[in-house]
Symmetry: C2
Subunit: 223 residues, 2 copies
DNA sequence: CGACGCGTTGATATGGCTCAAGAGTGGTGG
DNA sequence: CCACCACTCTTGAGCCATATCAACGCGTCG
């Protein structure tokens, strides 16, 4: 069997945000709480996150919500199907985005390199989602939260003394809806990891990874 | 809110299998139980299902399994990321596949129409997976099974008298691993739907949809 | 200062899991 | 053609992880 680190976020590995070279780039700023697009909107644009964090969600008629992904710098969001977006998308923190036309993804007629780039982002998204499946369908609450923290730390963690630290711009409810749990369970699971000295919690949204190895073995399903 | 039929399978809508026009197509036959590729294999080829049914799976070190998707005619499987496959893939029934080169997806240099076609398949896969997320994370067992049966019926159901009938080439275990349940729960849920006269079960793997409306309202979360 | 949103914690309920037994079902070889 | 075996499916009983319901603290913002 091929062993994979299980990665709940959209993408397996981050790619540095596109830096303008020759052509001027269309960019866009979006504030927390503001929607970039809604499910069902005609999808003309594709967005590449430059700074900030986005949230992609799906909502059922009765209000049940699933967070499909968090969009971090380097991530691309807004892949259309049948010309429409299939999730809602809003910002968790002030964010800046690079705007691409749908045509840049769909045809190689224009900027071939950009086309390639967007295509590759789409493929990365597919493989990232496959990890998320395993997590949603087959993992316990601790395993889910451990996996989540690990991926986030890998992608956007910052060293703090001997440890890695990670900031969580999303609420416990967002994490719950990403992992298929309730806020209460997420909160309890944080407490559990904190009490077993595997993580430390600074200000509600700042987690320090004290025992990365322990966290990793929890995520992979070691008892 | 934009209301979506929730669709657990890979793709929202089937597309007719590619029919050879000028160039000869490379095709391939695969028997039940045989693997088309494994997670981690170098991904040189992309496959379009012409006939049969494939199964895409992910397995954890301790044996927990997640069925990522079932590949029906018109579906495309084997999207690579970083040049590798990220799931295992085998056949549930004898299947024939149209083989494409990875380059056909990745560059528009060769057959532009084919490139487009594969790209669109990738985008459809992304949106299909988003539906699957909602199902895995937020639905009850009946809702899951109802959604599953509906999508399958839409895609590969056949009329039988006044009703639609659908064949299930996969085991209860496969369905369980697709829906994030156990075999026992899947079996019980089938029984429950059968006893409430919403479906009828012919030969273990043949389901007749007696009350599609009821099934639909269960899938969407009506109590 | 009050209100509201968010997070934590506790008590209890319950849906789906686990363990276990039996009933089909299909394949194989005598 | 039948007997046997392996495998899948079904059903039951009990349990456990997570949901639900509820209370409360804390920080933020008007």
């Amino acid at each position: 069997m091929y062993v994979t680190a299980t990665l709940p976020l959209m993408q397996t590995r981050s790619i540095p945000p596109l830096r303008p070279r020759i052509a001027r780039q269309r960019t866009l700023t979006i504030k927390p709480g503001k929607h970039l697009f809604l499910e069902g909107d005609a999808a003309d644009k594709i967005y590449e996150v430059a700074t900030g964090v986005l949230r992609l969600t799906r909502i059922m008629e009765d209000g049940r919500r699933q967070v499909i992904a968090f969009g971090y710098p380097g991530d691309t969001v807004g892949f259309p199907s049948d010309g429409r977006y299939h999730t809602d998308c809003d910002a968790l923190v002030p964010s800046t985005l690079i705007v691409h036309r749908r045509a840049d993804l769909e045809t190689a007629k224009g900027d071939a390199a950009l086309h390639q780039r967007l295509l590759r982002a789409a493929l990365r998204e597919i493989s990232g989602m496959q990890d998320h499946f395993m997590m949603l369908g087959r993992k316990s609450s601790v395993e889910k939260l451990a996996s989540f923290l690990l991926v986030l730390t890998d992608r956007v963690g910052a060293p703090l003394g001997d440890f890695d630290q990670v900031n969580l711009p999303m609420t416990r409810g967002d994490i719950a809806d990403f992992l298929g749990l309730t806020t209460e369970t997420v909160s309890r699971t944080f407490t559990q990891l904190r009490k077993s000295q595997i993580i430390a919690i600074d200000h509600i949204n700042t987690v320090v990874i004290l025992k990365p190895t322990a966290l990793r073995s929890i995520a992979e399903g070691a008892d």
